[in-house]
Amino acid sequence: MLHIPGYYEYCCRVNVVAGHDGLEKIPALLERVQAAKPMIVTDRGVAGAGLIDVVTAALGDKVTIGGVEDDVPQDSSLEAVQRIAEAYRANGCDALIAVGGGSVLDTAKGANIMVSEETDDLMAFSGVGKLKRRLKPLIAIPTTAGTGSETTLVAVIKDHARHQKMPFVSYFLLPDAAVLDSRMTLTLPPAITAATAMDALTHAVEAYTCLAKNPLSDANAVSAIELIARHLMAVMQQPDNRDGRLALAVAATLAGMAFSNAMVGMVHNIGHATGAVCGVPHGTCMAILLPYGLEYNQHRNGHLTAELLFHLEGPDVFAHTPSDQRAQKVIACIREMNQSLHAITQGQHARCLRETYDRDGNRAVPFERLTEIAATAKNDPAILLNPEDLDDEDYMMVLEHAWDGSPLNRADIAGFEKKY
């Protein structure tokens, strides 16, 4: 069904190139933006996995690479941005190719501001709409299929000296092109494949069910959901399934376009807090919390959740499920997906917060820290477009159930009876 709000905006100006040989299109993309000497920006993990070699081999002798900066930290930092900008200038580069995830892309965006604006004062461009002209060409090559960061117009750079995170928001920060190539995700470990795909699924589902939805973001979302539903388990069973890998990469970008234009809700809100307090990877938080977000909001947006059954499970299941049970069926399907992913990854894919562990093998989310997560979540802006409010008790109820993996008892939602 088409849902048309009273007013909406939609924009995704990124040129998307997708394919098993997507990387080979980069010389043509660079030529189109009149660039000939790009600098490659990445992190140690991506370089160590041999993916930069794949990229440079695909570029062949058609492009002169102006340098490879492979030391982007896990949280993008001002120091890294400055170092890359200096190297860019010293090497006479004229474009940037970011190969990696959100931090790499944010760092490349920061460096791009410095070299395009010919400034050493990045801070002067922090905020919304400070950039007034096109920057140097930037090509994003995602190496996971989840974040969708290649479609966003935001960069966050951390100034460690001042203990500040500097946000930059501008349409000029959108990459000129995003190249989705199955080779970039072919060797992703199963648990990361699972978590990143569930991250993308969450982007799509929250974009479809939360308050800033629009008809184009809805179409992005349902396409992403269909691709993930059709290909995730096949890729988990057969990790070198190139078509499946490409489909998941395309789904992640579609989901990125959806949430960039429709925003997200309580799943991201609580997930951000869980990541900040306990260091649980974002995709893992999304996978665990998604069914709880849908369950909690069901009295508000159950009709929207119900519509997703058609895309998640196909027309036959949709037709055979009574309309008043479709939302619940969607939630059950997502829990079944988590269960299957848990089994395929031999327990690495957590089904609940209690099953998450840190690098030392300790429980990542001790039950005692749920209060701290709830308090952090209350200040996270992702809640603004959630269909239902959450008070302290609501946060704790959701977190406690997500911790032990039990479904929500909807009668427990604070004020539920009073409100409805």
Partner: protein, 390 residues
């Protein structure tokens, strides 16, 4: 639909749609570093006072505006040259175009002229590159659209330029600016949008990002046309719904090759007996029927697009394709009825002979995205008679 193993997608258009959409125009101009826009409107926009809300939206923007109203489109090259002189003389830095069809072609050409300094369209036809960074162009279309307003096409005196860089970066759809055309004009806009959208969806190499626009445009067009055909469940202002569909259909086309029914429609319109929109509306179901059979593509999703997921799911798998095509034909039949025959069901309804249609479409190549080769004669014959191919 299967995922192609290689594709490219680009849509530089930012859409603003709905109540008070125009109030965002000054902000968007400023975000693109523009503070002296030249606002131009065509004759229908002037007659219907559709420039008024646009100018009001700039009231507190502290921008210097150039305004030229009631611009004729009979000699677009000459008009564009005159407007370019005004643009340069007044030191403008962006264009806001309020209008439809050929007027928007002229506005895109004007933008190319003032952005590049090139005044000869042949230079671009002969291979001169159309740069990515043209001046900001905002398009405010009406509900009497020809579907190409938001595309990367510019038609100028029999010549055609096309590039994704010609797609306007800003689109504003506001109930105050789309106008209130009559049912026939509105139906024609809806049929054009439906043609572009469905042809884009039902191609062998449709990619999921094109499908996002095509799917949305198709559903909007179906919603608008069903509303015109008397479906009481239609929501929202009809003109806005149809204008919305046409704008997104243009985004779907982008700078890609024009699809078959669209081209055939324009060719048949040359006879002067039927509008391009009506001719393509008639031919759409036959083109799709032929293409779906030739490419062995399922037509099933037509049912979901034109009606609902529920209707799709309730219909047995083997009957969905035929039911979808029938829905398309039923829609045209209902429009015929509610417009007292002004919207044609068949090409013969327009008084054209089969020979007229055949001659008019002789030069049209079936080659192009998703077009099945051959079968054109069958399509035209069946569309003329109003008889399904199978």
């Amino acid at each position: 639909m299967p995922l192609p193993t290689c594709f490219e997608f680009e849509c530089p258009v930012k859409t603003h749609c709905g109540d008070r959409a125009l109030e965002n125009i000054a902000f968007e101009m400023r975000a693109m570093n523009a503070v002296k826009p030249l606002i131009i409107g065509d004759e229908p926009a002037a007659q219907e006072k559709r420039l008024v809300p646009v100018l009001n939206a700039f009231k507190n923007a502290e921008m210097t505006l150039g305004v030229v109203e009631a611009i004729p489109v009979e000699d677009p090259a000459s008009v564009a040259a005159q407007l370019a002189a005004i643009y340069r003389d007044k030191d403008c830095d962006a264009i806001v175009a309020v209008g439809q069809g050929p007027f928007i072609d002229m506005a895109k050409w004007l933008n190319l002229m003032v952005s590049t300094g090139e005044e000869n369209p042949d230079a671009f036809i002969e291979g001169k590159g159309i740069p990515r960074s043209l001046r900001p162009l905002a398009v405010i279309p009406s509900a009497t659209a020809d579907g190409l307003e938001l595309s990367g096409y510019v038609r100028l005196q029999g010549k055609t330029l096309r590039s994704v860089n010609l797609m306007p970066p800003l689109l504003f759809l506001d109930p105050r600016s789309v106008g209130q055309p009559g049912d026939v004009a509105l139906a024609e806009t809806g049929l054009t949008a439906l043609t572009l959208a469905l042809e884009a969806m039902f191609t062998a190499d449709a990619n999921p990002m094109d499908v996002v626009y095509a799917r949305t445009a198709a559903k909007l067009a179906a919603m608008g046309l069903n509303g015109l055909a008397g479906d009481s469940e239609i929501g929202g202002p009809l003109s806005l719904t149809v204008a919305h569909a046409a704008a997104l259909a243009g985004c779907t086309l982008g700078a890609g090759p024009q699809p078959l029914a669209f081209k055939l429609g324009w060719a048949v319109a040359e006879t002067g007996k039927i509008s391009a929109a009506q001719a393509m509306g008639v031919m759409l179901s036959y083109v799709l029927e032929h293409r779906l059979a030739a490419n062995e593509m399922p037509a099933d999703m037509l049912l979901e697009l034109l009606d609902s997921a529920g209707r799709y799911a309730r219909t047995p798998e083997g009957q969905r394709g035929a039911a979808g095509l029938q829905l398309l034909r039923d829609l045209l039949n209902r429009l015929f009825e509610t417009t007292d025959g002004k919207i044609r069901r068949t090409l013969s309804d327009s008084g054209l002979s089969l020979q007229d249609v055949t001659e008019a479409t002789e030069g049209i190549s079936a080659q192009g995205k998703g077009n099945a080769s051959g079968g054109q004669e069958t399509i035209i014959t069946c569309a003329w008679e109003g008889r399904p191919i199978r």
